[in-house]
């Protein structure tokens, strides 16, 4: 299912920051200092870090309790 750029950008910021304070208005945070003001490039590659899975206070197991 195709998702809009705004959702993807907000997800990227939310995941990377690992906080609950993200909102759909945080899109500009994914651009770099050298980007033009109207930059439309998506800088949304995520930083998968070793052992970085506990940034959310409520990481949950769902199933898999076996």
């Amino acid at each position: 299912m195709k998702l809009s750029k705004s959702i993807l950008s907000a997800m990227a910021v939310g995941i990377a920051l690992g906080t609950t304070s993200c909102s759909l208005g945080d899109v500009e945070e994914i651009h770099y200092e050298h980007c033009a003001l109207d930059c439309e490039e998506e800088h949304t590659e995520l930083r998968a870090t070793e052992g970085g899975g506990d940034t959310y206070p409520y990481n949950c197991p769902a199933c898999g309790m076996g």
Partner: protein, 379 residues
């Protein structure tokens, strides 16, 4: 597409607020490959607010009929109906009003643990009393959410008799609400490995016309010292075994009402870039099988809408069953080793009872001991 009929099978992921899972899945979302998300709505019990972007994600998938809810903590077979269970139902009602779930599901079994949000699911005696309780509880789920409701088969079994009977027993529960079955193929893989039974034989024990959703995942092997043998466990912390993909290919043409196929993995098993890439590879393999096999799936025959829902004024209870569940939980969570577990059980109220502990396999009791201790403090 099939003769003008729209797409009938959707591939998705178990998507919860876990940074590793979301990091692993993000490229799939970005590529538009995730067709449905399954959210365990009751795992955020201690947090009232979702991040805006996650709320938006759930809303967008829900509006497209691509959001499904999967509960963890209701404990369907709890002998008594607790205040926590009523609050869970109240929460389900609120959440179902907020998000457009296509269906809601829970797990077969009762939760060990002294606390509502601690413990792990284990089997109960497959008796008339436990059947009546499960029917009562799933009716309350149906009433609370107003959506099709279903149950997932459990990986764990104490003995082969319980394994053979689980499918027909689940069917008896589901009949009450025209419910659906989540067929977890890794759970069946565990059972095939642990009880030396062929998959093609085992699935015939299940009501295949009730399968609306499939789960696939990975797990792990552990040594049961009591019998010096390997036990397969549904730990969701590794890649999907080749056999489970083969099961998926084999079973889709047998499931007329299948709609969703979901890949599950715990965030703890996705803590490196390599593991996250392997998760995406598993998703691509799963989706390829689903897309390829779609044409072989018979046409759907059941919408799983509940009809003539009957709800008793007071929830059904069985004090004896509740006491035995508490006793079993206490023994599993508070014994020093397997020998002690076995000895205490033999001297408990579960001896010579419908629990039939005398036929439980040592290696599976040892596994229950390990599972209960792994999850007794929650997560």
């Amino acid at each position: 597409m099939r003769n003008g009929v729209g797409k009938e099978l959707y591939s998705g992921i178990s998507c919860n607020l876990d940074s590793n899972i979301l990091s692993a899945c993000f490229p799939l979302f970005k590529g538009g490959e995730v067709e449905v998300i399954e959210w365990s709505f009751d795992t955020l019990f201690s947090h009232n607010n979702l991040p805006d972007w996650f709320d938006h994600l759930l809303t967008v998938f829900g509006e497209e009929g691509r959001l499904i809810g999967h509960g963890v903590y209701f404990s369907l077979f709890n002998g008594t109906f607790t205040k926590d269970q009523q609050e869970w139902l109240n929460g389900l009602r609120v959440t179902s009003d907020r998000y457009e779930f296509d269906h809601i599901s829970e797990h077969f079994g009762f939760m060990t643990g002294q606390d509502f949000h601690k413990g792990a699911p284990l089997n109960v005696p497959l008796s008339d009393n436990s059947l009546a309780i499960a029917r009562d509880r799933i009716s309350r789920m149906s009433y609370a959410c107003g959506k099709p409701v279903g149950l997932e088969n459990l990986a764990f079994c104490y003995d082969k008799e319980g394994l053979i009977r689980q499918g027909s027993f689940i069917n008896q529960i589901l009949e009450e609400v025209n419910g659906f079955l989540i067929l977890d193929l890794h759970n069946l893989y565990c059972q095939c490995m642990n009880f030396d039974i062929e998959f093609s034989e085992l699935i015939l024990k299940y009501p295949l016309d009730r399968v609306r959703e499939i789960h696939i995942s990975g797990g792990s092997w552990e040594i049961a010292q009591s019998e010096d043998r390997k036990i397969r466990r549904d730990t969701h912390d590794d890649a999907v075994p080749r056999e489970v993909f083969e099961y998926l290919q084999e079973v889709i043409p047998k499931l007329p009402n299948l709609k969703f196929v979901i890949l599950e993995q715990l965030g703890t098993g996705l803590d490196t870039i390599v593991k996250q890439a392997r998760f995406r590879d598993d998703f691509e393999t799963m989706k390829s099988i689903v897309d390829h096999k779609q044409l072989e799936k018979p046409l759907a025959t059941n919408d799983f809408k509940s009809k003539n829902l009957k709800l008793s004024k007071h929830p059904i209870s069985d004090e004896t069953l509740a006491k035995q569940q508490q006793e079993l939980t206490f023994i599993l969570e508070n014994s020093v080793d397997f020998r002690s577990v076995k000895k205490r059980l033999q001297n408990s109220s579960l001896a010579s009872s419908p629990w039939n502990i005398e036929s439980w396999e040592d290696s599976m009791l040892e596994t229950a001991f390990a599972i209960a201790n792994k999850w007794k403090s929650g997560f």
